[in-house]
Amino acid sequence: MDDPGEITRLLHAHEAGDRSAFDRLVPLVYDELRRLARRHLRRVPGGHTLNTTGLVHEAYLKLARSPGLRLNDRGHLMAVTACAMRQVLVSRARARLRAKRGAGERTLELDETRLKHEPNAERLLDLDRALDGLRQRDERLARIFECRYFGGLGEEEAAEALGLSVRTVQRGWMRARAWLRAELEGPEDDRVE
């Protein structure tokens, strides 16, 4: 985030219909999220007092001070922040998974059949993959889920972030969870076991 004006510019481009602007925004916010979290963790050793929700809110508040930002942009910014949070989490999950995989080869037993019962990191990657699938079918549902789950946004906040009614967000959240759970569990007759 070397140029705070860049955020405003991209938000406006996104609003004007440039869909790629959203994806270009995410890395800018990603850095901000990490920066903030670091500061927190330095202040509060252990870091357990801050959760993703708090972090996303704080990052948002900070970014929302970008010059030239209009009221409309602020909602979008919230959605971008949630998306960036997802990436931070997913990238960490990947790293963790790789770390685990590097170890213990010899004493490994059986196959990945046990995965289902194993670390959060893997569940998170599965979820990430499933969410991409949902996004291809219904971008709005996916965004609602992203805002609420990864951004920890409340219903009203998510509604504002996405320019939707609270009712739409409520219903979308339920449906998104249904689809994602179905995808994560697989068809009932074809469970991974």
């Binding site: 070397d2 994806d23 270009r24 850095d31 901000e32 990490r34 670091r38 963790l41 870091g47 357990h48 959760n51 993703t52 990436q87 931070v88 989490l89 960490r92 990947r94 790293a95 998974l97 770390a99 995989r101 590097g102 170890a103 213990g104 080869e105 010899r106 004493t107 490994l108 037993e109 990945e112 995965l115 019962h117 194993e118 670390p119 959060n120 569940r123 990657l125 979820l127 990430d128 993959r129 991409d132 699938g133 291809q136 219904d138 609420r148 789950y149 990864f150 951004g151 920890g152 219903r171 339920m174 449906r175 249904a178 689809w179 994602l180 179905a182 995808e183 068809p187 074809d190 991974v192």
Partner: protein, 993 residues
């Protein structure tokens, strides 16, 4: 589960409508909208249930906390921040951004202590190991000793708030690159600049520092004609590939073609080939620099990096472009600097300084003719290799007939476009066309995996449209289409782009496929299945093989149709690790199966060789594809290929023309330290050498550790003194499993296989080399635990019909069996890892009866079926503590939905009563829970490595394996391509006796 297009929308709107209604009215609604479509109704019912579902991985209220968050917190701490003007960084005040480099941002900053401006370079070591950091630090310290007027000084290496920074001399003025945009320099100026650059290099080389990335952008033209060379040695820390010197590749790799191999035009031929570089690489770059200053354009101007690669390796240098007034001495110097073979090149940059100091001096050097002859010979193989890389003409060369020119093997590191990471979780992300002309790579960009096509002619990578979410790519026989799994379907798409066609519905966990010349596809549809065949002209997937569970077969996977289309190569996963899997061939005509290799997985055939992977090493063995027979002994042909021991997949692909594409891994990662962890989570190493330890076990007095050291293929039992860390070996070439101490501490009982039969035997630890056999079985047997009085040995046995069972054998005073073994626990589920309590009255063991999730149970030894107590949230690897407590390990998400319980070690304290146990309390000891010490990141408690945890008799501390790397494996951005690899293999084979 995803349904296609309209189907999804329809289901989703029905779901929405149903959810609108109160639960009592939904059944009627469903009956009304799908009166006779029971499939649709079932799906809707399920979705409604899932929408309303309770707490699981998707919490009802959104937001994340707990273990996931704590993971994140760690990641964030390890990463590197973005900074801006006004921020303070240690004692430095940032005043602006000077630029962005390959390794991080460079800031202008003020150092109040010395009252001067400096440049601060943030080193982003995203996910890089601490080893790299240490290396960088060492290097920075070395560089800081470079003190020369033409070298931009490195003031120091500082770690500020956990992040590494280089503090550099701030040099004002334009770079040579900026100056060259206005055209050539006058000859005298070029010589003057060249002289200073040569002089800087000479000083660096004298100190043993190679710049490695000399280019006009790294040369500053300071005030008063003072030239400063920047970025010595820093651009490329030791041991990384040439791609480090890449120019910045286009940022958005998904929308435009991005050059994978970004190559600075100043790279020497040996750098491009990925060979080790030395000071002579700087000599080449110096030649390029001097040439460009005189001519006003780069030595090899080219539009794309592909062209540059080809040109650097091949093109004639245009000497006529040099200005007419270029002194003879300078011309001669240029020719000597720009020889492609470093052995023919100017050996000492100091000579350049001499030459430039007096450029008009006439002096006879070696006869030109001889030098040229050497050069031509040295160049020839390179010419061919370069052409192969650039134009894929390997086939025409071969056709041109005998005698085939000797073609050299060439290695290229492929830089994935920015933001892309190779996606090789579980499955191989690579495919190569048979002629080696195209590579297909599965990579992830911002979380979305896609296939990328890399044409070896243009060296550019383009995303293949419609392949989002793809997995396990394989190519059609004509190499024009790529098939892949996505969305629980098997699909294909032309490599050149076009419509995506769905071939079949497959489950969400396929394990490989291959496309036969007759158009049928052989695949492994799920992770515990036999092979199946799909004929696109007919509907449905037909099974080809059945798993033989009586022989311990867990899966048939990673198929490859052999040339001729009559046989299929595949991997048979067994009940152990994939390092012990089998490579087999299946006749598509008769159904006959032949075992080709025991102990290996991911077999691939190319050009008379069978390749496979074992323990992260790539092996090759001569193979007769007509008679389907291995001819010879497998040899390691590549150390360190990325390999997933859970799925048996390896990240490599070989073409018939000898193009190898692979992901490199560090084979050292399996070396670990023995260490103690106390209840506060603190680690203390036992000794300071990392070895391939596994299954460490404490002696009854807690002073010695029995452990297996070695690989699956070759290991032995050792005893390590816990105080002095001295090692003594108990066996020789035995490959033992699961050491278990005898109660007197004089022996270690192990399980081992010999000639197809398994044995339990006790190895003496008193130096007598005696072995006491206990029993023999055709089944796999592992010792578990000795009763404290030494009368009973409990062991586990793998039975074809009942899985792992717990059995016991009574042993006489001489250590030999006093009777036939009896079965203690045998169900069709697994019972295993039994442990005697310290008083010998109870057994703790694991069982996954009745729902396939492992829990730890405690039962009386006399009647182990009568469970007195058990865990409920998933647990493994019970160990009794010195005071009778029970410790167990709980993996994350051991039971679906139970995410609130911490991953890690838990302790059970009992209220003892005469005939039964009742629990006083269960306490998490360390792991991922709130406020728990968490050493997990440094441990090798990979969920699979149960037996690496033990409890000391001397107090509450635990014997573990500490990872020697201490850091995660880096995400792979740079696969390696080896051209004409078979040439190297042939050379290697011919050297063999």
């Amino acid at each position: 589960m995803w349904s296609e297009g309209d189907d999804f929308s329809r289901l989703d709107s029905l779901l929405e409508e149903a959810l609108e209604r109160p639960p009592s009215e939904r059944a009627a609604f469903l009956a009304a909208v799908c009166p006779d479509d029971t499939v649709l109704r079932k799906r809707l019912e399920r979705l409604i249930r899932l929408a309303e579902g309770g707490e699981d991985v998707l919490p009802p209220s959104g937001g994340l906390s707990g273990a996931v968050w704590e993971d994140l917190a760690r990641e964030i701490v390890e990463g590197s921040p973005g900074l801006r003007a006004g921020d303070r960084l240690g004692r430095y005040e940032l005043r602006g951004l000077l630029g962005r480099g390959g390794m991080g941002h460079v800031y202008r900053a003020f150092d109040p202590a010395l009252s001067r401006e400096v440049a601060v370079k943030a080193l982003s070591l995203h996910g890089e190991g601490s080893e790299l950091r240490r290396r960088l630090e060492r290097e920075a310290r070395l560089l800081a000793t470079l003190n020369h007027p033409n070298v931009a000084a490195i003031y120091g290496f500082e770690v500020i708030e956990g992040d590494p920074y280089l503090i550099l001399e701030l040099v004002e003025g334009p770079t040579l690159a900026e100056r060259l945009q206005r055209g050539a320099l006058p000859v005298e100026s070029a010589v003057a600049v060249g002289l200073q650059v040569a002089s800087a290099l000479e000083e660096a080389h004298r100190k043993g520092v190679v710049h490695r990335d000399l280019k006009p952008a790294n040369v500053k033209l300071g005030p008063e004609g003072r030239v400063k060379v920047l970025d010595f040695g820093i651009a490329k820390p030791v041991g990384r590939g040439p791609e480090e010197m890449a120019h910045e590749v286009p940022a958005d790799a998904t929308t435009g073609p991005g050059a994978i191999l970004g190559t600075a035009p100043y790279m020497s031929p040996e750098q491009i080939r990925g060979e080790p570089v030395d000071t002579r690489t700087d000599v080449w770059a110096f030649g390029c620099l001097l040439y460009e200053m005189l001519v006003g354009r780069p030595l090899f101007p080219a539009a794309s990096s592909a062209e540059v690669v080809a040109a650097v390796l091949r093109d004639e240098i245009d000497w006529s472009a040099l200005p007419a007034d270029t002194p003879t001495g300078v011309r001669r110097l240029l020719r000597r600097c720009l020889r492609r073979d470093p052995r023919d090149r100017l050996q000492d940059i100091g000579d350049a300084r001499v030459e430039l100091t007096d450029p008009d001096r006439e002096e006879q050097r070696r006869p030109q003719a001889a030098a040229r002859g050497v050069r031509t010979r040295a160049l020839l193989p390179w010419l061919v290799a370069a052409l192969t890389a650039a134009a894929a003409i390997a086939v025409p060369i071969a056709r041109r007939g005998s005698p085939a020119p000797s073609v050299s093997t060439a290695r290229l590191s492929l830089e994935l476009p920015a933001g892309l990471v190779l996606a090789d979780d579980f499955a191989n992300p690579f495919a190569v066309t048979a002629d080696g002309s195209h590579l297909v790579i599965l990579a992830t960009h911002q979380g979305t995996p896609r296939l990328y096509l890399r044409d070896m002619k243009t060296l550019e990578a383009t995303p293949i449209a419609g392949t989002e979410g793809a997995w396990q790519p394989f190519l059609s026989p004509d190499g024009r289409e790529v098939a892949f799994f996505a969305d629980r379907k098997l699909k294909h798409v032309p490599l050149s782009g076009g419509p995506v066609t769905t071939l079949a519905e497959i489950g969400g966990n396929p394990r490989g496929g291959d496309w036969a010349a007759d158009g049928t596809i052989v695949l492994s549809p799920s992770l515990r299945s036999g092979l199946a065949r799909l004929d696109p002209r007919r509907a449905g997937v037909q099974p080809l093989t059945q798993l033989d569970v009586t022989r311990g077969e867990g899966s048939h996977r990673w198929p490859q149709v052999l040339p001729g289309g009559r046989w299929v190569l595949f991997t048979t996963g067994l009940e152990t690790t994939f390092d012990e899997a089998r490579i087999e061939a299946l006749s598509l005509h008769t159904g006959e199966r032949r075992v080709l290799v025991e102990g290996g997985s991911y077999g691939r055939y190319a050009q008379g060789r069978l390749f496979f992977v074992r323990e992260g090493r790539l092996f090759a063995v001569p193979f007769d594809p007509v008679n389907i027979a291995v001819r010879g002994t497998p040899e390691v042909v590549l150390e360190g290929v990325r390999y997933d021991p859970r799925s048996g997949s390896a990240s490599y692909a070989v073409s018939e023309t000898g193009t190898l594409l692979y992901g490199a891994a560090t084979p050292t990662s399996r070396e670990h330290y023995l260490a103690w962890v106390d209840e506060a989570g603190r680690l203390t190493r036992i000794g300071d050498s990392a070895r391939q330890f596994s299954e460490p076990r404490l002696s009854p007095d807690g002073r010695r550790v029995a452990a297996v050291i070695g690989t699956t293929a070759a290991s032995d039992a050792w005893v390590v003194d816990a105080d002095s860390a001295t090692l003594s070996r108990l066996s020789s070439g035995l490959s033992p499993h699961r050491p278990a101490w005898t109660p007197d501490g004089r022996g270690v009982t192990v399980g081992a296989e010999q000639g197809g039969r398994w044995r339990l035997l006790t190895l003496s630890t008193t130096g007598s080399a005696a072995e006491t056999p206990i029993l023999e079985s055709p089944n796999r047997v592992y010792p578990n635990s000795w009763s404290p009085d030494g009368r009973f040995l409990v062991f586990q046995e793998l039975n074809a019909s009942t899985g792992w069972d717990v059995r016991v054998v009574e042993v006489g005073p001489d250590g030999r069996p006093a009777g036939e073994p009896r079965t203690l626990l045998a169900t069709r589920f697994d019972e295993r890892n039994a442990a005697f309590s310290r008083d010998g009255r109870f057994l703790a063991y694991e069982s996954n009866e009745p729902d396939n999730v492992f829990e730890v149970y405690v039962a009386p030894f006399v009647d182990p079926g009568a469970r007195l107590w058990g865990t409920v949230t998933g647990a493994r690897w019970a160990r009794w503590g010195p005071g009778g407590q029970l410790y167990y390990w709980r993996p994350t998400q051991a039971r679906p939905g139970e995410s609130k319980v911490a991953e890690g070690l838990h302790r059970v304290d009992w209220r003892h009563e005469p005939s039964r146990l009742s629990v006083a309390h269960v306490t998490p000891v360390w792991g991922t829970g709130p406020r728990l010490p968490d050493p997990l990141d440094r441990l090798v408690v990979a969920v699979y490595a149960s037996y690496d945890v033990d409890v000391s008799a001397r107090g509450p501390r635990f014997l573990v394996l500490e990872s020697s790397t201490g850091e995660s494996e880096v995400p792979l951005h740079r696969p390696v391509v080896v051209l004409n690899w078979f040439e190297e293999l042939r050379t290697r084979e011919s050297r063999r006796p």
